[in-house]
């Protein structure tokens, strides 16, 4: 039983991105280093920088500090045949899979909503052959981004071995030249476009994530050939320079900056606003049927002009004020 897994030297599934560090270097060689104004609109950021067929990766933690406004715009612009890193992925991959934007996915976590259960529409999408799948672990994708950020084509690691997760990955193995020990070898993941939501950015794209965890975003921002950042607020350049230790993403990684207050709703934005549990409940109920999914996408994405109108729809500033109060523990009596 399981004997075939224990000695396996390479996964059997597709590697969706090219790990060649020299091709990536050539791209980065010509990436603009100028301190230029990169502020643009949500519409332009998505239409200019994301092409059908691109492989994208999303910062944050699936429903925490996610670039919702950019995700909605990708859906609204009906991008097709995107590849995606399903890394710690929740509402982000659900949106893109349900809307038919992606046709391939490196999965470490999709469909699930942590303690809320599962998304039926994401499950339908990922059960279909329409999305080509390759499986990994969260650590594997985190390290694949780090390998790319370091300008490498692979890094060794010590997990996945012996399992179907390894078999259904595109990992290989490598022998340590010092100890003779066997390691998993993870291919560097250079996404075509990374989209990341942050607290503060300046107009050049220097970003500071001022509260909460970073997940793998420091690496992802460096791994991405292009990076689109949405931010809760633009801050003066001088504010970045006043605290350079807090800069998570340097401007030279970034191609476009959009200012989107509440841009992570219905997700949690650490220090700013808590999850909108009412919205998630409504959404997860709605997408149980295909018709329901169509309706909720129509109501909240296709038939609204942009993120501003969406925010009005979900309850506007009053709603966001309530979610801020929960986040800030202002109305909680148990802390």
């Amino acid at each position: 039983m399981y004997d075939d897994l224990i000695g396996l030297d390479a996964g059997t599934e597709e590697l969706f991105t090219d790990p060649d560090p020299d091709k990536a270097r050539e791209f980065f060689h010509h990436k603009n280093r100028g301190l230029v104004n990169k502020v643009t609109t949500i519409e332009q950021a998505v239409s200019v920088h994301i092409k059908d067929g691109d492989y994208i990766a999303v910062g944050g933690f699936g429903h925490v500090r996610i670039p919702t406004a950019l995700l909605y715009e990708i859906v609204r612009q009906k991008k097709r045949n995107l590849g995606m890193a399903g890394h710690t992925s929740i509402y982000d991959s659900d949106l893109l899979a349900t809307a038919g934007c992606i046709d391939r996915c490196d999965i470490s976590y999709v469909i699930g909503y942590e303690i809320r259960g599962l998304s039926a529409s994401a499950r339908r999408a990922f059960q279909s052959k329409e999305i080509r799948k390759t499986d990994w672990s969260n650590g594997a994708l985190a390290w694949r981004f780090a390998a790319a950020a370091a300008g490498l084509s692979f890094v060794p690691s010590r997990h996945m071995l012996g399992t179907d997760t390894f078999k259904r990955s595109a990992a290989k193995t490598v022998t340590c030249p010092f100890t003779g020990k066997k390691f998993a070898a993870l291919p560097a993941l250079y996404p075509d476009v990374a989209i990341i939501h942050v607290h503060n950015a300046d107009t050049f794209g220097n970003c500071q994530i001022t509260e909460g965890i970073l997940v793998s975003d420091a690496y992802l921002a460096r791994a991405g050939k292009k990076v689109i950042v949405s931010c809760e607020r633009l801050v003066p350049h001088e504010e970045i320079r006043a605290n350079p230790q807090a800069t998570t993403i340097p401007y030279w990684c970034v191609d476009a900056v959009v200012e989107v207050p509440y841009g992570s709703h219905p997700g949690n934005m650490p220090g700013e606003y808590w999850f909108d549990e009412d919205y998630f409940k409504m959404y997860l109920d709605a997408v149980k049927t295909e018709e329901g999914a169509q309706k909720v996408f129509n109501d909240y994405i296709y038939n609204v002009k942009g993120f501003g109108e969406y925010l009005e729809k979900i309850g506007g500033v009053k709603k966001m004020r309530d979610l801020r109060a929960i986040e800030k523990l202002i109305y909680m009596n148990k802390c």
Partner: protein, 257 residues
Amino acid sequence: MCADYNPLELLVCIGSRIIEDNSTVFVGTGVPMAATMLAQKSHCPNVIAIFEAGAVAPQMPGMPISVGDSRTSYKALIASSMNDVMEACQRGMVDYTFLGGAQIDMYGNLNSTMLGGEYQEPKVRLPGSGGANDLASLCWKTNVITPMDKRRFVEKVDFITTPGYLNGKGAREAAGLPPGTGPYKVITNLCILGYDDETCRMRVESLHPGVTFEQVQENCGFELLKADNLEITPPPTGEELRILREEVDPEGYIIGR
């Protein structure tokens, strides 16, 4: 007082007791999180909870909904990255992890990826590994908390998402996983299970009050071993249940009240 409790409360209370103070525990979503919070508020004030998105040892103001949300880094000791905490596991700094899964076999292998059908077109697609494969590969001791039934405890899992002892003693090491790691306990609504040292097969170590070994075996899809000194699990105490209901999960996210 013989408290009344539901199966989830039982799981959380029993799960919390395995945790040792001053140990490092990598915490997953749901029941494990509740068990860790209960431990912290009862016998383990200094348990170090680690969350895969990057937070360590928070003083959580309420039940997190996500292992990456702001409650996991509230007054934490460090709020860093997934890479950093996964590397702490790989370096050998993390003692325990608590996982779940849709299927588990007698060697503690877990499936949270798919049920039935072909890989590219499964009957049921599940979320995938998340951090589970990493944690079960790299932490020293892997615990599973899960309700027990024949659909879940199966002869052969459809997909090994997360390594248990694979197919027996020495298999993890042969595959290349770090030595000395592996499954430790399985906490169910019926009993606590461990693993036989020689065969690495699952074995019942403690029966919950009123449960017989035969009942456990009936609810399990493979043959269970029985520990020489089969114990009776002390039931949740009133104090455990009070803390769980009032302080850990007053909204009932996990325990469903």
